[in-house]
């Protein structure tokens, strides 16, 4: 089974600053997908960004970007211009084609954005 490790249980950042959340994973697969999900206090799981392993270019979605290092099996999330609404749990997740395109999640990083 794939292992996803998020080494930072909690992080804090001031509003408008930049923060990076770390994620490493372990797999022998060559074709897979990586995701970051956000879970605010409402408990809803929200997809933030995804990365296909075969793509060398790092994914970007507005203020969110990733640093994907395939050889190092590292997939960090950078949040620029942090906003109070970014306060949430962030989960890194790994998916391969089989079985069933299911997700393996890390344990999460709790991010607090302060004024």
């Amino acid at each position: 089974a794939q292992t996803v490790t998020q080494s930072q249980p909690e992080m804090s950042v001031q509003e408008a600053e930049t923060v990076t959340l770390s994620c490493t994973y372990d797999t022998s697969e060559s074709n897979y997908y990586l995701f970051w999900y956000k879970q605010p206090p409402s408990r809803q799981m929200i997809l933030v960004i995804r990365q296909e392993a075969y793509k060398q270019q790092n994914a970007t979605e507005n203020r969110f970007s990733v640093n994907f290092q395939k050889a190092a099996k590292s997939f960090s999330l950078k949040i620029s211009d942090s906003q109070l609404g970014d306060t949430a749990m962030y989960f890194c997740a790994f998916m391969k084609h089989v079985p069933g395109y299911a997700l393996n999640f890390g344990k999460g990083t709790s991010l607090l954005v302060t004024p």
Partner: protein, 114 residues
């Protein structure tokens, strides 16, 4: 937002009783999933379905069964609930033909087994 609902949203039940959670989608997506979320564990896959009457086990399937008789409904059953099954349960859907590899989650069901 993807059309996914879960019912009930909250439930308290006693040890040994059967419990069924329902996930309903209006997106006609092929794949459906049940995950559980516990402190310190993130989300873990219980069962998934890749079509009507087609299901398979996930990482933490012991004590759970599922059924999918229609595309839109995926049921999770705890045959005899135990306190270790106190958790938040999430349903997710995915249609790899249309939005490849993106899973959309329901609002979750908080289950407490006393």
């Amino acid at each position: 937002d993807a059309g996914i609902t879960q019912s009930p949203r909250h439930k308290v039940t006693e040890t040994g009783t059967p419990v069924t959670l329902r996930c309903h989608q209006t997106e006609n997506h092929r794949y459906m999933y049940w995950y559980r979320q516990d402190p310190g564990h993130g989300l873990r896959l219980i069962h998934y379905s890749y079509g009507v009457k087609d299901t398979d086990k996930g990482e933490v399937s012991d004590g759970y069964s599922v059924s999918r008789s229609k595309t839109e409904d995926f049921l999770l059953t705890l045959e005899s609930a135990t306190s270790s099954q106190t958790s938040v349960y999430f349903c997710a859907i995915s249609d790899t033909d249309k939005s490849p590899y993106e899973q959309y989650f329901g609002p979750g069901t908080r289950l407490t087994v006393t």
